[in-house]
Subunit: 245 residues, 2 copies
Amino acid sequence: MAGIKQVQRQTGVALWRQIADRIREAISRGAYDETGMVPPETVLALQFGVNRHTVRSALAALAQEGIVRAVQGRGTLIERKERLNFPISRRTRFTDGIRDQARETRALLLGHAQEQADAEVARWLHIKPGTLVIRLETVREADKRPVSRATSWFPAARFAGIGEAYRTAGSITKAFAALGLSDYVRATTEITAAHADSADIADLGLTPGAVLLITKAMNTDLEGVPVQYSISRFAADRVQFTIEN
Amino acid sequence: MAGIKQVQRQTGVALWRQIADRIREAISRGAYDETGMVPPETVLALQFGVNRHTVRSALAALAQEGIVRAVQGRGTLIERKERLNFPISRRTRFTDGIRDQARETRALLLGHAQEQADAEVARWLHIKPGTLVIRLETVREADKRPVSRATSWFPAARFAGIGEAYRTAGSITKAFAALGLSDYVRATTEITAAHADSADIADLGLTPGAVLLITKAMNTDLEGVPVQYSISRFAADRVQFTIEN
DNA sequence: AGTGATTTGTGCGTATGTATG
DNA sequence: CCATACATACGCACAAATCAC
């Protein structure tokens, strides 16, 4: 293992971006922890078999992301940034899950609307397609940094006014409570990963090509009746999930 | 929502590749399931706001990957390919997990070695750093398609010869059984996502910029003693995880 | 304080890749 | 298939900041 990772040309991905991705991963793997710096540009250029300009483009992109900081004469320093850990369990709650890891969490309601359930939403919520549901578009932040954006659907008959309740309360748990649902549990979680699209880039402050962790999750009340279906998109460099069995 | 996802210029990712990624994701999302075909090139060009030439480059790349097949006079047909679902639970086993979704699964042992546990491995296996461990490098395939590559560590004292056992048996479960461990459970799973590196691209047959789901997992015997720590890297377009609570 | 070595910052000319029409 | 425009990548040279001695 640990062979010389060569960079590939003419693949539709610019060399500087491939190199940026490599360095980003090496940093998150802790490969440069001893010095706290990235190797000199000339060394990286040699390692990747590219010109120093190309390495500089990569490092400039990482500096833009806030991952490194270049200092003339000294080198390129790594800015420490921890990943939030997001536990997934029967008791999964966003705000509680990261409460002790961030000084401040914030929930923004981008918008809400009533609509008819499409096939997918209907399947997850165990209702007939066309049944009225309320859709919420939200963004969550931890310490001013956007962490995820989510689209959630709720049966409209049972949770009328959840949009306003969420805006007021600032969390799903509290909005549910305000509407008479005192407790709920996570029934199913589906996890995939993909590239960020332009909406992700805008809402989460990402760079093109960024990686997302995507969950599709269904919550039920204590009787097992579905109360919420959500598609959440997390910035993969800011979050990890843990499952304890 | 559902706004027109614009494609972005000057981001280090060629337009044709961004479009290929979008179409690939749309296909895997089932967006074109009604017709089984991708929309006409002229329509796609209009949607993405690019020239038809650019769309053609994207479709050519997807055809190269075997995801679509262009037929003159008819359109661009989608080749069916499902995402394997990989359940994560206390009873998580790779081969069992996807047994009913693939006709044939295969495990390749790329190599194995005995080494001293570094800080991370030691922490996960609850042993002292420097303790002897056996490291296995494996690749798993389902229906001839590589699904994941993994690095696993086992306490050397307890599981001497697990490399050969794995090569013979073709699964961790059977290798454990051959060494006297009849049962084990998944204790902890940590999930992140990142870009594929060149080793991933080579071992899993991916394209540069591909997205990976990465798990760090620890298995214990029935007494709760750690028996295995693994870092697995899954091609995100071929796999999803589910957690049932 | 001075000098050289190291490292990042900048400029410019050229070749090739990407995208348009 | 071609002409045009811009992005990407290279090679070389030199300036500016930092550090060790």
